[in-house]
Amino acid sequence: MTSPILQVEDLKKYYPIRGGVIARKVADVKAVNGVSFDLYPGETLGLVGESGCGKSTLGRTLMRLEEPTGGRVLFEGKDLAHAKGKELFDLRAEIQMIFQDPYSSLNPRLPVRDIVIEPLEVHKMGTASERLDKVVALCRRVGLKEEVIGRYPHEFSGGQRQRVGIARALALEPKVIVADEPVSALDVSVQAQVINLMVELQKELGLTYIFISHDLSVVEYISDSIAIMYLGRIVETGKKETIFSNPTHPYTRALISSVPNPDPRKRRVQVAIEGETPSPVNPPSGCAFHPRCPFAVEACKKDVPALESFTQTDDPRHNVACIRKDEIEPHFKN
């Protein structure tokens, strides 16, 4: 079995809330509260969750756009979470990011050429003419015509801008790309084009993706494995097929039920969850999902359930954080 390219261990990101006259820390927003997962080369990990569950913060913390409060991020053995100076600079070339909003992610005052050439200049790659050749090649590769490189972002549509963003992310030839809701700001037809482009690039360049999204149908299309996040923690991980055919955590079940299933013979236990996501400042005791969970018992309020291997499916990577995972009946019945 191949070893993971990226190992995330107990990653935490807390934002302090200060109050009172001397701005004392009164509480923390636990946006990412101890997340661990492994990312395997050439795969796409879909990271799914509701708005506010911390999935974007997780992505930004991985990229060191936010300083992690705790934990480690190992990229080929090097700790990205604590790297500094030259080491961090070199690691940045290995992990790049595609942003959600194609309107704010491109500097409005720079033409496409300058936007895409920037990473090459910062990392001093090649001569000036080699860089320019590379920019042209990148633009062609993402489906933009060569002559657009002198144009400014405002002259492009959302999908074209996102292609520019992808070209920039590819410029340093990274191994891992964190895509934070890369298509959620686009029209559905354009979403498909951009996702297909990402899939093609993955095959061609052997990229590894972390694909952050709240849209399960998009995630189902692009992902190899899936991690479900709820209130700063991962509650279930597994291969895509496992998650969709055998969702085990009650929260995952609720998410999967919300996706229309085209197969009328598949019957399932309807899990309608009520209420809002609780505040990450003061999460419920024990399992954070228990106030909304139809299967909750008294014990769920006590301890935070660990993400443990679920043996009833044959997926070795299937992990569920629920103390009742072995008791509650399967989601889909044949």
């Binding site: 930004r60 790049q96 992610s105 990473p119 933009l144 002198g150 400014y152 492009f156």
Partner: protein
């Protein structure tokens, strides 16, 4: 490909000014005064010389008449233009450079750096500028450069505050995050990503500050706080007042200078509208698109023009 997006450097600046009627008018007026300041003093007589009978109205010999001392008003106006414009632009540019540097540092780095710098420029903001300028100018040896220093010290804080606010808004944009992810240094992010995005703001500030500096300088000198033996627009007015120009009805000793001050301020403001389009390429595109639609007999809308590939 449209010329708007491709033009670079000086040609782009000239183009933006030439396209816009208001900016063109502003540029012409300003150019006139700049010419006046550079070559004018070579063409007129010595402004200090007592050339005629005092307080003569405009005549063929002395186009703008003579002062209460019998000096040539035109010569004084022209010679005064040089110092007044130099101080105006010098102060305007310095104030914005200092303000931008401090404001962008405060906004970008945040935290304690921001706390300290914000405190600093807030202190300077609550000090009433003109009274402080009067006090400092009264203590320091008088002269145009003292005035410039006084205006810089009392004028930079407002610019710092505006630039800080703009930086706070911009640094949250994803293109700054993208630059960080790529590995750009703080210095490069500030100079390459943030500053160019603020060009129109900084230019507007330079123009505003220059207008303010010319006005304040003329005001302080009119009050006698400058070097009264130098020739500037302000001292011209000071001497006109001293020689009781209003009482004697010698309008020619102060009206030309007043008009010159007003015209320069007007020209700078007009110029600003052309610069705005240059640093915001979208405004330029919209204009090109509107003209194209109008030429086809279509009704222009506010829709964003998009490249079809």
């Amino acid at each position: 490909m449209s010329g708007v997006s491709e033009a670079q450097g000086l040609r782009a600046w000239a183009g933006a000014v030439l396209r816009d009627g208001k900016a063109r008018a502003g540029a012409v007026i300003l150019l006139f005064f700049v010419l006046l300041a550079t070559v004018g003093p070579l063409l007129v007589t010595d402004p200090d010389a007592l050339v005629s009978v005092p307080l003569q109205p405009p005549s063929a010999e002395h186009w703008l008449g003579t002062t209460g001392q019998g000096q040539d008003v035109l010569a004084q106006l022209v010679v005064g233009t040089r110092v007044s414009l130099l101080i105006g632009f010098g102060v305007g540019i310095s104030v914005v450079l200092i303000g931008a540097l401090i404001g962008i540092t405060a906004g970008y780095f945040g935290g304690r750096v921001d706390g300290f710098l914000s405190l600093l420029f807030n202190v300077f903001l609550v000090i009433p500028g003109l009274p402080l300028a009067i006090v400092i100018a009264a203590y320091l040896p008088s002269g145009p450069w003292t005035l410039a220093l006084v205006l810089i010290v009392t004028g930079w804080a407002w610019n710092a505050r505006v630039v800080r606010a703009q930086t706070l808004a911009l640094r949250e944009q994803d293109f700054v995050a993208a630059a960080t992810v790529v590995g750009e240094s703080h210095f490069r992010i500030i100079t390459r990503e943030l500053l160019p995005t603020m060009t129109s703001l900084l230019l507007a500030q330079i123009i505003g500050s220059t207008v303010y500096a010319i006005g304040a300088q003329v005001g302080l000198e009119y009050l006698g706080l400058g070097d009264v033996s130098a020739f500037t627009w302000g001292t011209n007015l000071y001497w006109a007042e001293n020689d009781s120009a209003l009482l004697t009805g010698a309008w020619w000793t102060f009206v030309p200078t007043g008009i010159a001050v007003a015209l320069v301020g007007f020209a700078l403001t007009m110029l600003n509208s052309g610069f705005d389009e240059l640093s915001n390429p979208r405004l330029g595109m919209e204009r090109v698109w509107r003209q194209h639609l109008l030429s086809k007999g279509e009704e222009p809308t506010r829709a964003t023009p998009v490249v079809r590939s």
